[in-house]
C-alpha cells in the first residue's frame, strides 16, 4: 500500500509538472509528493521492523536492507526537492533557466526518485534492473541541464559508461537464473534465487558475481569504474548531485549486496568479500590521491563519494562488525554528503564558481552556510562526535585482525583524505571574501534542507532509534 502511495504521489507530481501553467503548482506538487513519500517510508520501515519482510504484491518485496535505503531515498529526496525550489528560483533570477526548464527539471527529478524506490522495492532482479536503467535515463538530461559543452560531455560519459555497466550487470544477473528453471510465470525473485543458490554451479556463480560487481559497481562508482562519477556529479544541478551522490550510489549497492547474499549462500562468503575488499581499498586509494590535488569543490565532494563507497565496500568485505558499521556508514554518508552538496549549491549561487581557488571567505559571505559546510566537512571525514568516526573505526577494527595490511593502508588513505579536505575547506571558508561579493544568506529556505540533514545525521550519531537498530542488526546477521 505504502509503495503504491509513494509511486502515485510521485506520478501525480510528474503529471502536474507536465501540465501546470504556474511554477508554484509544480513546486507544491513535488514537495507534497516528497512529504507523502517520506511519511510512507517511515511506515514501511516500522512495518518491516515489526514483522519482517513486507511484500505488498508479487512485484514488490521490502526487507530490512530495502527499508533502510527507502528511508534514505525519502529523507534525502525530500530535502533535495525542497532545496530545488529556492535554488531554481535563484537561477531563474540570474536568467540561467526559464519556466519550461523548471518544469522539465521537476518532472525528471520525480521520475528519478520514483525509479529509485522501485529499484529497491522490486522483488525481482530484472525489475530492479529496469528501474536502475530508468534512473540513468531520467538523470541524463538533468546532468546536461545547463546545456553547456562540459555538461553534455558529462552526460554522454554517464550514459554510455553506465549503460555498458548495467548491461554487464544484467548479464551477470541472468547467469544466476541458471539455478531457477521452474518458476511458473517466469518472475525470478530475489527470494527464489536465494532458495535455489545451492543448485548453482560454483564457477558460474563466480563469473556471475564478477559481472554483477563490475556492472553495478560502475553505478556505485567503485574504482576503477568510477570515471563517470566526478564529471556527472559536478555538472548536474546541486540537488541532483546530492541525490546522485547520497542516494543513487546506495541503491546500486543494494543490488550488489543482494547478489552477494546469493553468492555467499552458494559458494561461501570469501569470494565476494575478497572482491569487495579489493575494489574498496582501490577506491579509497584513488579518491585520496585525487582529493589532495582537487581544484573544484563539487568534484572534491564527488571523489569523497568514491572514497565512502570504498569504505562501505571494505566494511562488507571485512564482514562481522564491519557489515553493521557499513550500513550505518551508508546512512551517515547519505545525509552528510547531501547536506554538503546542498551547502555547496548556496556557495555556488553566491560566488558563481566551482573553482576552489576562486572561493574565499565563505564564513564571512555566508555565515550560516559556511558553518554548515565546515561541520559537514568535519563529519564526513570522520571527526568525532559524528557517527562516521565510529563507523570508520568499527570497519577498520573489523579488518585489523584478518587483513591488517588493508586496514592500515585504508587508515593511511583516510588520513590523506582528511588532509586534502581540510586544506581545501579552510582555503574556501576562511580569509577575506572578494570585495564584489555581498555578505548575507540568499534565503532561509536554502539553509533549512542541509541544516535538517545535518541535524538528523548528528542525532543518529548519538542515538539510533530502536526500529532502525533492529533493521541494521537484521542486515548484519545475514
Amino acid at each position: 500500500m505504502e509503495i503504491l502511495i509513494i509511486t502515485l504521489s510521485l506520478a501525480a507530481a510528474i503529471l502536474v509538472g507536465g501540465m501546470a501553467k504556474q511554477r508554484k503548482n509544480v513546486e507544491i506538487a513535488s514537495v507534497a509528493a516528497g512529504i507523502v513519500s517520506f511519511a510512507a517510508s517511515i511506515s514501511i520501515a516500522l512495518r518491516v521492523s515489526a514483522s519482517g519482510t513486507y511484500a505488498p504484491s508479487a512485484f514488490f518485496s521490502i526487507d530490512a536492507l530495502g527499508a533502510i535505503v527507502i528511508l534514505i531515498i525519502s529523507c534525502v529526496g525530500l530535502a533535495a526537492t525542497a532545496y530545488s525550489v529556492p535554488y531554481l528560483r535563484a537561477e531563474t533570477e540570474k536568467h540561467i533557466i526559464g519556466f519550461k526548464r523548471v518544469r522539465q527539471y521537476f518532472m525528471l527529478l520525480n521520475l528519478f526518485i520514483a525509479a529509485m524506490y522501485v529499484a529497491v522495492a522490486a522483488s525481482s532482479p530484472v525489475l530492479a534492473w529496469i528501474a536502475i536503467e530508468m534512473t540513468t535515463l531520467s538523470t541524463v538530461f538533468l546532468i546536461s541541464f545547463y546545456n553547456k559543452p562540459a555538461s553534455m560531455e558529462a552526460a554522454w560519459k554517464y550514459l554510455i559508461i553506465n549503460s555498458i555497466g548495467l548491461l554487464l550487470g544484467f548479464f551477470g544477473a541472468l547467469l544466476y537464473f541458471t539455478s531457477t528453471n521452474a518458476l511458473g510465470d517466469g518472475l525470478v525473485s530475489w527470494q527464489s534465487l536465494l532458495v535455489n543458490a545451492s543448485h548453482l554451479d560454483p564457477l558460474i556463480v563466480k563469473i556471475a558475481f564478477i559481472f554483477v560487481l563490475v556492472g553495478y559497481g560502475t553505478k556505485v562508482g567503485l574504482a576503477p569504474m568510477h570515471t563517470w562519477l566526478p564529471d556527472a556529479h559536478s555538472k548536474a544541478p546541486v540537488p541532483v548531485s546530492a541525490l546522485l551522490s547520497g542516494v543513487l550510489l546506495n541503491v546500486a549497492f543494494v543490488i550488489i549486496l543482494r547478489f552477494k547474499y546469493v553468492t555467499d549462500a552458494s559458494i561461501g562468503p570469501a569470494f565476494a568479500q575478497n572482491l569487495l575488499m579489493t575494489l574498496g581499498i582501490l577506491s579509497i586509494f584513488i579518491a585520496s590521491l585525487i582529493i589532495l590535488t582537487q581544484k573544484n569543490y563539487k568534484r572534491l565532494l564527488a571523489y569523497s563519494s568514491v572514497e565512502n563507497m570504498g569504505i562501505i565496500a571494505l566494511g562488507f568485505g571485512f564482514g562481522g562488525l564491519g557489515v553493521f558499521a557499513a550500513i550505518l556508514h551508508m546512512i551517515y554518508h547519505s545525509l552528510l554528503k547531501s547536506a554538503l552538496f546542498l551547502s555547496s549549491g548556496t556557495i555556488f549561487l553566491k560566488f558563481s564558481s566551482t573553482k576552489i581557488a576562486r572561493i574565499r571567505g565563505v564564513m564571512t559571505a555566508l555565515p550560516v552556510t559556511g558553518i554548515l559546510f565546515f561541520v559537514g566537512f568535519f563529519a564526513i571525514t570522520g571527526a568525532p562526535p559524528f557517527g562516521v568516526f565510529y563507523t570508520k573505526l568499527s570497519i577498520l577494527t573489523a579488518g585489523i585482525a584478518s587483513h591488517p595490511v588493508i586496514a592500515i593502508a585504508a587508515l593511511a588513505f583516510m588520513a590523506l583524505v582528511f588532509v586534502g579536505f581540510f586544506q581545501h575547506a579552510t582555503a574556501m571558508l576562511f580569509g577575506d571574501k572578494p570585495e564584489e561579493i555581498e555578505t548575507g544568506e540568499r534565503s532561509v529556505w536554502l539553509i533549512v534542507p542541509p541544516l535538517v540533514l545535518l541535524v538528523i545525521a548528528f542525532g543518529l550519531s548519538l542515538h539510533v532509534p530502536q526500529f532502525m537498530y533492529g533493521l541494521i542488526n537484521e542486515i548484519a546477521s545475514k
Partner: protein
C-alpha cells in the same frame, strides 16, 4: 526450424557485429543493427512456433517494430540531419582491430569460460558465438570514437545478451521482456537526442573532441 536455422541466424548476428567494427558508413551501420535485430526476432519467432505462445508473438512484433524498424529510422534521420555520412575513425587501425577481434573470439572458446558456454551442452557452440558477440560489441564501443558507433555498440551488446539468454534458456517472462524493450526504446530516444545535442555543441559527433572536463 532446426538447429541449423538457429545457427544461421546467429551467424548473421555475429557477422553484423564484425561489420559494426569496420564499417565507416553510418547509414550502413544503422541498417546492420536492424538486420541483427531481425535475426534475433527470427530466433524468438522460432520459439513462438515451438510453443505457440501468443504473448511471445506479441513480443516479437514489438521487437521488430522498435529494433528493426524504429531504431534504424532514428539513426538514419540523425545521420541525414547532421550530414554524418561517414563515421569518425577508431582508436585502433584495421589490422590491429582484427587481431583483437580474433583474440576475443578465441577467448570465448577458452577453457576458463567453458562453464559459460556449457550452460546448455547441446548449444555450447552457439553459446560460444553469442558470448564472443558480447565481447566484440564491447570492443566496438571501446574502439569507436563516434557517438553513433557508441550507441549502436551498446545496443549490439544488448542484442548479444538477449541471444545468449535465448540460447541458454534464461529468457524472462514476457511481461519483464516488454519492460526491458520499453527501457531500450527509451534509451534509443535519449541517446539519439543527446548525440544530436552533442553535434550542435561540438560540430561533430567525435567523442574524442570532447575535452571540457579537465578540471
Amino acid at each position: 526450424m532446426n538447429l541449423l536455422t538457429t545457427s544461421l541466424l546467429l551467424d548473421i548476428v555475429f557477422l553484423t557485429i564484425i561489420f559494426l567494427n569496420f564499417s565507416r558508413k553510418n547509414v550502413q551501420v544503422a541498417y546492420a543493427y536492424g538486420l541483427q535485430s531481425l535475426a534475433i526476432a527470427a530466433i524468438m519467432f522460432k520459439a513462438y512456433l515451438e510453443t505457440g505462445s501468443q504473448p511471445l508473438l506479441m513480443l516479437v512484433v514489438i521487437i521488430v517494430a522498435i529494433k528493426v524498424i524504429a531504431a534504424p529510422i532514428f539513426f538514419v534521420r540523425l545521420v541525414r540531419k547532421h550530414n554524418l555520412a561517414f563515421s569518425v575513425s577508431t582508436y585502433m587501425n584495421i589490422p590491429l582491430s582484427l587481431i583483437v577481434l580474433a583474440a576475443l573470439t578465441s577467448l570465448s572458446s577458452s577453457r576458463q569460460l567453458a562453464p559459460l558456454v556449457n550452460l546448455v551442452p547441446a548449444n555450447s557452440a552457439l553459446l560460444s558465438i553469442a558470448f564472443s558477440g558480447l565481447l566484440l560489441s564491447l570492443f566496438s564501443i571501446v574502439n569507436g570514437k563516434g557517438a553513433l558507433s557508441h550507441i549502436i555498440g551498446v545496443l549490439s551488446l544488448e542484442n548479444s545478451i538477449v541471444v545468449f539468454a535465448l540460447l541458454a534458456g534464461l529468457e524472462q517472462s514476457v511481461g519483464l521482456q516488454l519492460g526491458i524493450i520499453f527501457d531500450i526504446f527509451t534509451w534509443i530516444v535519449v541517446a539519439t537526442m543527446l548525440a544530436s545535442m552533442i553535434y550542435e555543441h561540438f560540430g561533430s559527433t567525435d567523442v574524442s573532441d570532447m575535452q571540457h572536463l579537465k578540471d
